[in-house]
């Protein structure tokens, strides 16, 4: 056991960022510093995974220090199964991102590495905060590094994309800020209560808020998270951001940042506002299903591979949304594992698109063709990842989607099989657009002579994809390694909601109404 391991994991990347900026002697020194710090963070975070007691649904690795007594705000972090898994996903993806940009980022390298490491601290902070004030600080801290990553190292239209990303997320998160303060004051109106932002206390207080107010707070939180997810119809910033972002930025965006939205929905919306969650569940599930189908249909007509992958994210994130708001253990577990899956598969797809872009400086499907003969290793990895994204049995995507569909089917809250019927059509669409794209890019005849000069993956690139593929297969074959860790935490969330649904969760407001 390492003492205060969560603190170390949380702040080590930040220290790394400072080290990179202070020792900005050469680009390669910055790269190595970044990789060493992020790998060290990953190794330490394994302690979080293996040291996590799956039978204990309570928060673990808890650290609490009073921060601002005047506002009753404290530095309070801790993990349950849900957040632990996402923290490890973050620490896993960050070194991959840093290594992937080894040769593609040449401008202002130390700043890029530093921004990525700051981003890592902020992301881990978002997942591990147990105080909403702290959570909000980390949540907003994401904006600035992301702004620069897209804005400085991005593509042609990067400025438009950054502004759109910035304004969208800012509007959402500011409305959430109001709800946070409102919630804090609501706590102070309880008998003997005081202003608080501590989530563990709010978990007990918030569900007693009358439904009228709870609905507004739920909406404010949900808006912020749905923008981040992004759920239809709030998704329009995502394709722009993805297309303009450098490969590393896209991987982080798809791999971790989008999960902050779904994580927020579980941690805050479902747990703080159970009654409102039940009220809004079918609405949000419909949004999820619409997202699944809409994302898939739009993906089908894309000419740019990266844009196709971006829209496929909208579709996949729709599945997660459906899984969460079916409010069953199966569905939530599926949603959770699907968050990890999407991080791995879509992250890997963006890496692959980046690799081919580095070679050909284009991402247009029509430019490629016949790559299987030229660069077989590339084609093989591309195949595995594509199949994982489609949800082929034996690979990770299948586990997540199956659990989600099963969970929604069993769901009493949704109470209708139609959600599953429509959502399942998304699986079919996914096979169509992914395989069609794969076929046009990799098989057939080359449509551009330049394709014949392509070199296959380097050792570094294989080294990047191999660990991802390992987990893609692992989760596909034996998901219990991960599902077991999260089960008790998920059960606790669902039990609370079920109690509310049965009317057992007696609250002051319910008896008043």
């Amino acid at each position: 056991m390492i003492p205060h391991v969560l603190n170390v994991v949380l702040f080590l990347p930040l220290i790394g960022a400072a080290a990179v900026m202070l020792a900005r002697r050469s680009d390669s020194a910055a790269r190595w510093t970044g990789v060493v710090f992020s790998l060290l963070t990953f190794v330490l975070s394994l302690e979080l995974f293996f040291g996590y007691d799956a039978n204990n649904p309570a928060m673990q690795f808890v650290e609490k220090v009073s921060w601002i007594p005047a506002l009753n705000v404290s530095y309070h972090v801790g993990l349950d199964g849900i957040s632990m898994l996402l923290v490890v996903l973050t620490t896993f993806i960050t070194p991959i991102v840093l290594i992937s940009s080894w040769s593609s980022i040449t401008k202002n390298v130390p700043l890029y590495i530093a921004m990525m490491l700051i981003l890592e601290t902020a992301m881990i902070g978002v997942f591990s905060s147990l105080d909403i004030f702290l959570f909000y600080v980390f949540w907003e801290m994401i904006l600035i590094p992301m702004y620069f990553i897209i804005g400085i190292w991005g593509g042609k239209n990067r400025i438009y994309a950054t502004v759109k990303f910035f304004i969208y997320t800012m509007v959402g998160s500011l409305l959430m800020l109001i709800a946070i303060i409102w919630l804090g004051y609501y706590a102070s109106t309880m008998p003997g209560g005081e202003f608080t932002t501590d989530i563990t206390m709010l978990f007990d207080i918030a569900p007693t808020i009358p439904l009228g107010i709870q609905g507004w707070m739920f909406a404010a939180f949900a808006l912020s998270f749905l923008i981040k997810v992004p759920a239809f119809p709030l998704h329009t910033w995502l394709p722009d951001a993805h297309v303009e972002a450098p490969t590393g930025g896209s991987v982080i965006l798809a791999g971790v940042l989008l999960k902050m939205g779904t994580y927020g929905l579980i941690r805050f919306n479902l747990q703080l506002f159970p009654q409102a969650s039940l009220e809004f569940a079918s609405f949000l599930s419909v949004l999820g299903v619409v997202g699944i189908i809409y994302g898939a249909l739009v993906s089908m007509v894309q000419k740019d591979v990266k844009k196709l992958v971006a829209y496929s994210s909208v579709s996949h994130m729709g599945f997660i949304l459906l899984g969460l708001f079916g409010v069953t253990v199966t569905g939530l577990q599926g949603g959770l594992i699907q968050m990890v899956n999407h991080g791995l598969s879509t992250g890997a797809l963006f890496l692959i698109v980046g690799m081919i872009y580095d070679r050909r400086h284009t991402r247009m499907i029509e430019e490629f063709g016949g790559l299987a003969r030229q660069i077989p290793i590339f084609a093989t990895f591309f195949m595995i990842v594509t199949l994982s994204s489609i949800g082929l049995p034996g690979l990770n995507g299948f586990v997540g989607e199956f659990l989600i569909l099963l969970g929604s089917f069993q769901s009493d809250v949704l109470g209708s099989p139609w959600y599953v019927v429509f959502a399942a059509s998304g699986v079919v669409f996914a096979a169509v657009y992914m395989l069609w794209m794969y076929q046009r890019v990799v098989f057939g005849v080359s449509r551009n002579p330049e394709n014949e000069k392509l070199s296959d993956l380097s050792i570094r690139e294989i080294g990047l994809l191999l660990p991802v593929v390992l987990f893609i297969v692992w989760i596909g074959v034996y998901p219990s390694t991960f599902l077991d860790k999260t089960e008790s935490s998920v059960q606790r969330v669902v039990e609370k909601l079920e109690k509310v649904q049965r009317g057992e969760y007696l609250t002051t407001s319910v008896s008043e109404q």
Binding site: V137, R158, M170, L174, L175, L177, I178, I181
Partner: protein
Amino acid sequence: MIEIIFESIPSFWPEITLSLTFVISMIVEFIVGGKGKKSTGMTTGLIVLLGFTVTILQMPFQDLEPRLLFGTMITLDPFAAFFKYLIVAAGIIVIVFSMQSHEVRRQETVGEFFCFIAAMTFGMFLMAGASNLLMIYLSIELVSLSSYILAGFSKKLKRSGEAALKYVLFGGAASGVMLYGMSLLYGLTGALDIYSIQSTLAAGMVVDVHDWSFVVLMLSIIMILVGFGYKISAVPFHFWTPDVYEGAPVSVTAYLSVASKAAGFAVMVRFFYVAFFDSVLDLGKWGSLPLVDWNMIIALLSVLTMTLGNVVAIWQDNLKRMLAYSSIAHAGYIMMGLVVMSDLGLTAMLAYFVIYFFMNLGAFYIVMSVADRIGSEHIDDYRGLGKRAPVIGVGFSIFLVSLTGLPPLAGFIGKWMLFSAVIEAHYIWLAVIGVLNSAISLYYYARVFRNMYLREPLNGDESPITFSPLVIVITILFIIPNIIFGVYFGPLISYAQRSVELFLQ
């Protein structure tokens, strides 16, 4: 009578020091100064700086037990002291700015410039404590007259002259209206000091709701509000602000936007907090003014002010003018604290002023230094600045992000406090408008760092721009509080709370 004066003098030393500073610097300027002797101008500046330093050193030794000085003219309480610290600290910083500023140093009459800064500071000290209609009026006039001169200080610049003239005309009209309002209030209540006005109104003897006297009372309050609104540049009394802020030397603009606004808020809070507080029937704030929802009126003013400031700022390409509109918007945010009229609201206002002090002065300082160096305040000339002058670029970004109100910088804490105050009082809609405004403000602040970092320089010139070490040091000195108050703001809030608790009612 004379005893009262003698009794009050020991509590009046900071103000006496300031007025002595003004007189001595004026005399020195007359004796040794003159046309073409710029070096003596700097001497005058140093005298004023010394005077300010002595003032700020005297203040911690003052007994802040709330009490009245010179009869009922001036109130001395921690609330007033809080603003006085802010004002004199801003004064010191502005003198330091001005001594570096080419815009100011190039003038032949630079000595007089510093004299008037001293006069203005003295006036603002009086404003912070003024509790008598006469004193309120006189102190506001003292500040206004000095600032008219300072605004038009760059005599050879057309925009400076235009600014001063507009300022005089608007100021004259506004203070005329306010004076008329005050005379109506005096006519109704027969009292000049706000404590007597409060007791007279609360007793309910002079004003009858079913009578013309009530209409007159409402009219007088609206007229007085015009005067205050002009001072804090609240919409719709803001029209002078952009022109004056653009035309005046940057250091003066910085002083007007921070200190003069703070003093305006101080006197406004004291007037409204005391005069219309109903202690007899226990109707609370605004208790003496039934029928009209004054909170709503101030809330509407606040919404108008922040929205107009932010929306118009989007279109500004001159950074000084952009910061002028942004400071109008910030006045709107600060007014949210006044809307709720609670201790939390006042605490939030005070905390916001301290934070605003650091972020706004920092931003103006950068604009001034860059203008001195490259001769432009235009946003396009900031292209590529992030690479050409890294410390300046990082500093400016931090001030702007802080002004936007993003964590983990100080501006976020300011906004958090203000939103807390309005949400506690259940003005959720006001908080929603406030945050939407923050989102708008993000757009135009981001335009600046977009130009600094994401765009290539205008004519491909990527050579570094060097700034003197002094500029770098001052920039870093402004960056530090913006970060510290963002992550460790407990003491700031406790200090603001203490200053509000002992407000003399």
